[in-house]
């Protein structure tokens, strides 16, 4: 038989003005199992809490119902009081007779009757409550940062500076991401390399950061605070410890005609290469798909010239296992490829290029040393056309969203062009100018007013080549919807920002969700923008949606502070409101039929199937198992399970039914 105590609060007059509090207490005293039922002016005050504590001790209560305000207000208060009196806090419930009753009804019999119902149902629920213990999870204070663009760099430095260990994994041979390719950056026009390179170096030298470049995530297991990751460190074919980065191998390698990824195909690199001079680490890799030795079995020039004997043709991929407490995803974005613009002849006409290519051309360290030259013949373009929204905001191309960065970088490109080719003509075809940001609109106006960039409102339908000129057929919707034609020397497409290659696969490995365009999904678009659905995995930068550097950096710092907050405790305490799959004594082991329907329904991927073995190690059945580190207690699985093998602690079927039966 239960020993329940009921404490009815007047809340000054907030409750008692419309509810007969004494009457409620009296009614409750008659409920079987209630051994103590009182009313009092302020239950949450110190004397009120003492009343509860005393009653627990004196009457040996095994359940408490405080009928007062909303549990969102004072549940923690009363549960703490109970715990101090030695009662398991989860045996304390609140009946909400203020917000849901006294405040919303007139003084009447019906109001008091409702209060009685509300308290009574909680009494019945408490009878079924079980003591629960908050879950403690240990935390490994090492963060994994995936991706070494500006997002990853910022997050890694912030976490490392907070005194925690960071493992950074970058897919390409150097960190730096797209920012390292940029010439100058809006809205200040400061040199991208100049502000980025010091940060890259800091990452490499930071005592708390371990950097793995030319590496990828192989697999991930576990849950918040306790991830186990495996990293594949691809063979560089160079012993990083021995290599001094002298660069002799790269200059002597005879295989030189390989389009450089860093220069977006506008320059060449050798088979053994460092992507760009400021690369971190400044150690070369051998591109096995191009190296003559790997393709034909002879050459080995690099080995011969290397003064430190660092070349290792037989180096193999290495798998590194690390324990990780939190993960920051910062794998960035990409731009839409050539095959999507047949009407613009991109990929067919060499002088039709995309934005990143223009960045390389405009960059002082680029293939033309910053002089604006067209790729086909190296002449200076006299007329240049920029096409905004190339692929973006284009449902027919499958990209209905706005890429957000291109309006700004197009204005920047036009400006850079005009600064370098004073007599040149720059045209921008646009649909809308989206320049919402500090100093952004001013920046675009500067391009228009000071640099005389001609903005034309309309899209381009087609580009074709005629007598060495690119004929750009567009429309000017501000000039009475006219078709207009511009004979250009070069065309730059502000091609849509899209999710990075492999984003979908990576999301699946990490159990994070992604949107229809394969950008990673945040937990809440407004209030949890740097978290994912999977506890312990955070987002930074353009892997979540197209964004510029200022936004990327703020988000990266946000993600880093989430990680730091997580690492500020050595153990995580979690509410025990989680689902459990029943386990019963043999021969049944569990009523779970192993249908696995619950597995995909869980929004947090907290459910996996487990093999239950008997004493001889023989698998007797498959049953669902819930990972308490991942479960957030939504109860979806409970509702879904047809055999009711899962229950939700704190909101179990029994408890909810008991509540119902009291009504």
């Amino acid at each position: 038989m239960s020993r329940i105590g009921v404490f009815v609060c007047h809340c000054g007059e907030n409750i008692s003005a419309t509810v007969d509090c004494a009457g409620v207490a009296e009614a409750m005293s008659r409920v079987p199992g209630v051994v103590h039922s009182v009313d009092y002016k302020y239950m949450c005050s110190d004397p009120g809490q003492t009343m509860i504590k005393d009653a627990i001790k004196e009457k040996k209560l095994d359940g408490v119902v405080v009928s007062a305000c909303s549990p969102h207000m004072h549940e923690p208060t009363f549960r703490r009081a109970c715990a101090e009196a030695g009662l398991n806090p989860y045996l304390c419930e609140m009946a909400n007779i203020r917000e849901h009753c006294s405040w919303v009804h007139e003084k009447s019999e019906a109001t008091t009757l409702k209060a009685i119902d509300l308290v009574h149902k909680m009494v019945e629920k408490v009878k079924k409550n079980q003591p629960l213990y908050s879950i403690k999870v240990p935390v490994t204070k090492t963060a994994l940062v995936l991706g070494g663009g500006i997002a990853g760099i910022q997050a890694a430095l912030d976490i490392a500076n907070a005194g925690h260990k960071v493992v950074m994994v970058e897919r390409s041979p150097s960190i730096g991401g797209h920012m390292s390719q940029l010439s100058e950056t809006f809205p200040t026009l400061d040199c991208s390399q100049c502000i980025l390179t010091p940060r890259m170096v800091e990452v490499a030298q930071h005592p708390n950061i371990t950097l793995y470049t030319y590496s990828e995530l192989e697999s991930m297991d576990g849950f918040i605070g306790n991830f186990k990751v495996r990293i594949r460190k691809k063979a560089r074919c160079v012993d990083e410890k021995l290599c001094t980065g002298c660069g002799l191998c790269t200059t002597k390698c005879p295989t030189k005609k390989i389009p450089s990824e860093f220069n977006e195909g506008l320059g060449m690199r050798s088979a053994i290469y460092v992507p760009f001079p400021q690369a971190v680490p400044n150690k070369p890799v051998i591109d096995k798909t191009q190296c003559t030795f790997f393709l034909k079995g002879k050459c080995k020039v690099c080995e011969k010239v290397c003064p430190t004997k660092a070349i290792r043709y037989d180096q193999e991929d290495e798998i590194i296992e690390v324990d990780i407490g939190a993960i920051v995803l910062a794998t960035g974005f990409n731009v839409l490829g050539a095959e999507h613009f047949p009407e613009y002849g991109y990929g067919r006409y060499r002088d039709v290029i995309q934005g990143l290519q223009f960045e390389r051309i405009a960059s002082a360290s680029g293939p033309t040393s910053g002089a604006i030259r067209r790729p086909s013949d190296g002449t200076e373009p006299e007329t240049i056309v920029f096409i905004a929204c190339a692929g973006s905001r284009d449902e027919a191309k499958g990209i209905p969203y706005c890429s957000k960065i291109c309006c700004m970088y197009t204005a920047k490109h036009a400006m850079l062009y005009k600064h370098k080719v004073h007599h040149g003509k720059a045209y921008v075809f646009y649909m809308d100018i989206r320049a919402g940001g500090k100093m952004y609109e001013e920046f675009v106006r500067r391009a228009i007013e000071e640099d005389d960039v001609k903005y034309i409102r309309g899209r381009v339908s087609r580009i074709y080549e005629e007598d060495g000129k690119l004929i750009v057929k567009g429309a000017d919707t501000l000039l009475g919807h006219q078709a207009i034609e511009i004979r250009a020397d070069m065309v730059v497409l502000a091609s849509a920002a899209v999710a990075n290659d492999g984003a979908e696969e990576l999301a699946q490995k990490l159990h994070v969700s992604y949107d229809p365009y394969h950008f990673f999904a945040e937990a809440h678009p407004k209030l949890r923008p740097v978290e994912t659905n999977t506890a312990g995995i955070f987002l930074a930068g353009a892997c979540q949606a197209p964004r510029d550097i200022p936004e990327t950096v703020s988000q990266a710092s946000g993600a880093a502070s989430k990680v730091a907050a997580l690492f500020s405790q050595s153990e995580l305490t979690r509410e025990p409101v989680i689902a459990v799959v029943n386990r019963i004594a043999p021969p049944l082991y569990s009523t779970c039929t192993g249908c696995a329907l619950c597995v995909p329904a869980c929004p947090y991927q907290a459910i996996e199937m487990e093999e239950i073995k008997n004493r001889d190690g023989v698998v007797v059945k498959r049953a669902a198992k819930i990972n308490p580190g991942l479960c957030q207690g939504c109860g979806t699985c409970v509702a879904l399970c047809r055999v009711k093998a899962i229950d939700l602690q704190g909101f179990s079927n029994e408890q909810v039914f008991a509540e119902l039966m009291a009504l």
Binding site: P342, D377, G378, T383, K425, E466, D467, I484, R487
Partner: protein, 312 residues
């Protein structure tokens, strides 16, 4: 013998007789029998859909239903315009049940959707092995393959090749030993719909097409549509007038090219019916990429550039 349903369409009995003749000549060699759709009618061309939507589905609908009686799946439609109308009608009949009911009522027939129109390129692609082994006189010319608008558009309906830069005709021509040139007007409209009403306009549009083909060094333009042919060939005087120069590049149906490669006689293929004599101009040396010299030479002065934003 392979049997395929055949819808010639009105032009192939009149202005495009040589298209019909050359097709019949090559299939004979290919070992394919064309079975005419019984008692076929006109597809309604551009006029039916201009004035009466239901009619524009019912007329081609009747053709499809007549063809269904043959029990064959593929229906080869050499005229690109007819092909477009038949595809459009089929698309709408499949998607719109109410329209289908109306059309069945109008025609007094039942539409089952068992017949699939294919255009001449699809046909030649599908049966390419029945002619590649019979090539005796490779058509070793530089050719500009002109697809026109109706084979590839609207892409959702025709679902054929790449809408902006199709390749399939180029591939067939390569099989015949030709060298297809890269050019810019493969799918530009020649203005066929206004061939009779606005011949001047047609001249203007078509002259751009011919001009680009010649400029890119083509010795012949290959077409797969009677309307394209009549515009580029029969209306050459309008084109020359619009261009202010005389173009003598011949325009051949792809079936004629296939026939010539298989060694069929010019007469049998109907080449004598062309307005522009089928004689191939000398090869002109052209670079595919923009020429540096040309670019430098035509470099306009800054003053001249202010004129560049032409208002149409």
């Amino acid at each position: 013998m392979i049997k395929i349903a055949y819808y010639p369409g009105c032009s192939l009995l009149g202005t495009a007789r040589e298209y019909d003749e050359s097709l019949r000549a090559i299939v004979k060699k290919m070992g394919i029998e064309l079975v005419d759709v019984p008692d076929w009618n006109c597809c309604g061309a551009s006029s039916a859909h201009s004035l009466d939507h239901d009619l524009s589905v019912a007329l081609p609908g009747r053709i499809l239903m007549q063809a269904e009686s043959l029990g064959l799946e593929d229906l080869v439609v050499p005229c690109a315009a007819c092909y477009s109308r038949l595809m459009m009608a089929r698309h709408e009949l499949m998607e719109d049940a109410a329209l289908k009911a109306r059309v069945c009522e109008m025609t007094g027939m039942e539409f089952r959707g068992t017949v699939r129109p294919i255009n001449i390129i699809e046909f030649l692609q599908k049966y390419s092995d029945t002619f590649t082994d019979k090539i005796t006189a490779p058509f070793d010319k530089d050719v500009a393959c002109y697809y026109g608008c109706l084979l590839v558009r609207p892409p959702k309906v025709t679902n054929f090749d790449r809408p902006e830069d199709p390749r399939s005709m180029d591939e067939i021509m390569s099989l015949l030993g030709s060298k297809p040139v890269e050019w810019d007007f493969k799918v530009e409209c020649c203005g066929a719909a206004h061939s009779i009403t606005r011949a001047g306009l047609v001249g203007k549009l078509s002259s751009k097409i011919i001009g680009n083909a010649v400029h890119r060094g083509a010795q012949a333009i290959i077409v797969a549509c009677p309307l394209c042919h009549s515009n580029l060939d029969m209306r050459r005087n309008f084109i020359n007038k619009a261009a202010g120069r005389k173009y003598d590049i011949p325009v051949l149906y792809i079936t004629e090219a296939v026939g010539l490669a298989m060694g069929i006689g010019e007469k049998e293929l109907g080449l004598h019916r062309h307005t522009v004599k089928v004689r191939y101009p000398e090869k002109v040396k052209v670079e595919a990429e923009p020429r540096p010299k040309a670019a430098a030479a035509t470099k306009p002065t800054p003053a001249a550039q202010t004129e560049q934003t032409e208002e149409a």
